[in-house]
Subunit: 247 residues, 2 copies
């Protein structure tokens, strides 16, 4: 199979998996957890998984912007602005998702940030915010020295993948934690270990998130699918002062 056809096959698969993730988390929250509100109850908490999963799917698509062949005719600056804007959307979703969890905890007198899930998830949001800020300073400010831009590019790429892995770990531990809390509660009709339909649905959501992230990582890491840059020097991608380029 031609390499570009293989790319589009995996890209289509990633879009489908991402869509399924959003559908599964919404159905879980809406049909099994009582739907949505912003009132400090469990319905407020339900925004947390929906925002975080949607944020993860959007993040996967944001880091993929430079790999899409139909974007290669666009200016690099436009691609960088799209990348930064999509990631700002991810950050907004993460902040709303955190507010939903904290609001629910505060209202129910549950401490915040005690579980390993919350530690890893919160660290992922902090890392993501720093990554966005440093990416903006390094690649979108024309006054940033070229040597710094070059030096930072590999770090930005690597931490982008690390944040993806951290969000997957946080999501899977969060789904697992939520299922234990709600299905093993005294008023539950079927415990987690009996695998009721809700447990199947949410477990499959976790598997879908993992598969989605693997397709994204594969497309990002495969060297031959990187954006070609025939007009520039070897150092171009890292060293162009992006806000002043006129491609």
């Amino acid at each position: 199979m031609k390499s570009s056809n293989m790319f589009y096959l995996i890209y289509t698969l990633s879009l489908l998996l991402g869509l399924l993730c959003i559908i599964f988390v919404t159905v879980w929250s809406k049909c099994y957890r009582g739907g949505f509100a912003w009132d400090g109850t469990g319905m407020m908490f339900n925004w947390h998984p929906v925002c975080m999963v949607t944020g993860l799917v959007l993040y996967g698509n944001a880091i993929l912007v430079y790999r899409l062949p139909f974007t290669w005719s666009s200016s690099k600056l436009i691609l960088k602005l799209v990348h930064a804007t999509l990631n700002l959307g991810v950050l907004s979703l993460a902040v709303i998702g955190l507010q939903a969890a904290f609001g629910f905890h505060n209202n129910m007198h549950i401490p915040n940030l005690y579980s390993l899930h919350s530690w890893v998830g919160f660290a992922a949001v902090i890392f993501f915010s720093l990554q966005w800020l440093l990416g903006f300073l390094a690649f979108l400010l024309p006054c940033t020295p070229l040597w710094l831009r070059t030096a930072y590019k590999d770090v930005h790429f690597f931490f982008g993948l690390c944040i993806l892995a951290m969000t997957v770990a946080a999501s899977l531990s969060g789904i697992n934690e939520k299922l234990i809390f709600v299905l093993n509660a005294p008023n539950s009709t079927a415990p987690y270990k009996k695998l009721p339909p809700e447990a199947y649905l949410a477990n499959i959501l976790g598997v879908l998130l993992l598969c989605f992230s693997l397709t994204i990582a594969w497309m990002i890491l495969k060297r031959e699918w990187q954006r070609p840059n025939p007009h520039a020097s070897a150092l171009s991608d890292a060293t162009e002062p992006l806000l002043t380029e006129n491609q």
Copy 2:
């Protein structure tokens, strides 16, 4: 700082983090969870986290074999045999770790493989076994066609990283799950949300595992730290019939 010095700095850090992970999981199981036995009780289960965490640390070191500059004077075949042997050790630890969990579950009449943690962890072990088998067939059997060896190399590398990410996700969700089960049990003196010393210890274990894996991923992905192969053709690493090479 010189690039090789930076490598050894991160390598030393990874060794230290790996050692700390093994110490932390052993202290957790020994001092907080009652120690070790092979009798179907919680003491049998305690082998599960110890084997899995030790396996993860050994796996990180196994995939790093080709990156260590002091191994570069060795024959490629010897490196491959070391890589395969270390990974066989990882597989043994994973199998013992699974037996410990299944033996405990069966004795306590708890179903196996119902939680998302167990789905992801079990899938990681299955993937790891397939990866080992396919790696052996592709890179250690001299009769494997060169085109197949070349085609499979990227896939082997990518799935090696995926398995690392999956084991981290499984470990973090497993630590989180175990802490909820034991600290929120009716006979517990301090629930998880009060962050008793055991919760701190195990949460920090999760953070250490994450940091360890990030150092390994950084060393693996950084292109300039790959093993040089000046004597061979461009395709050498992928196409040498390894059991017949005489480097």
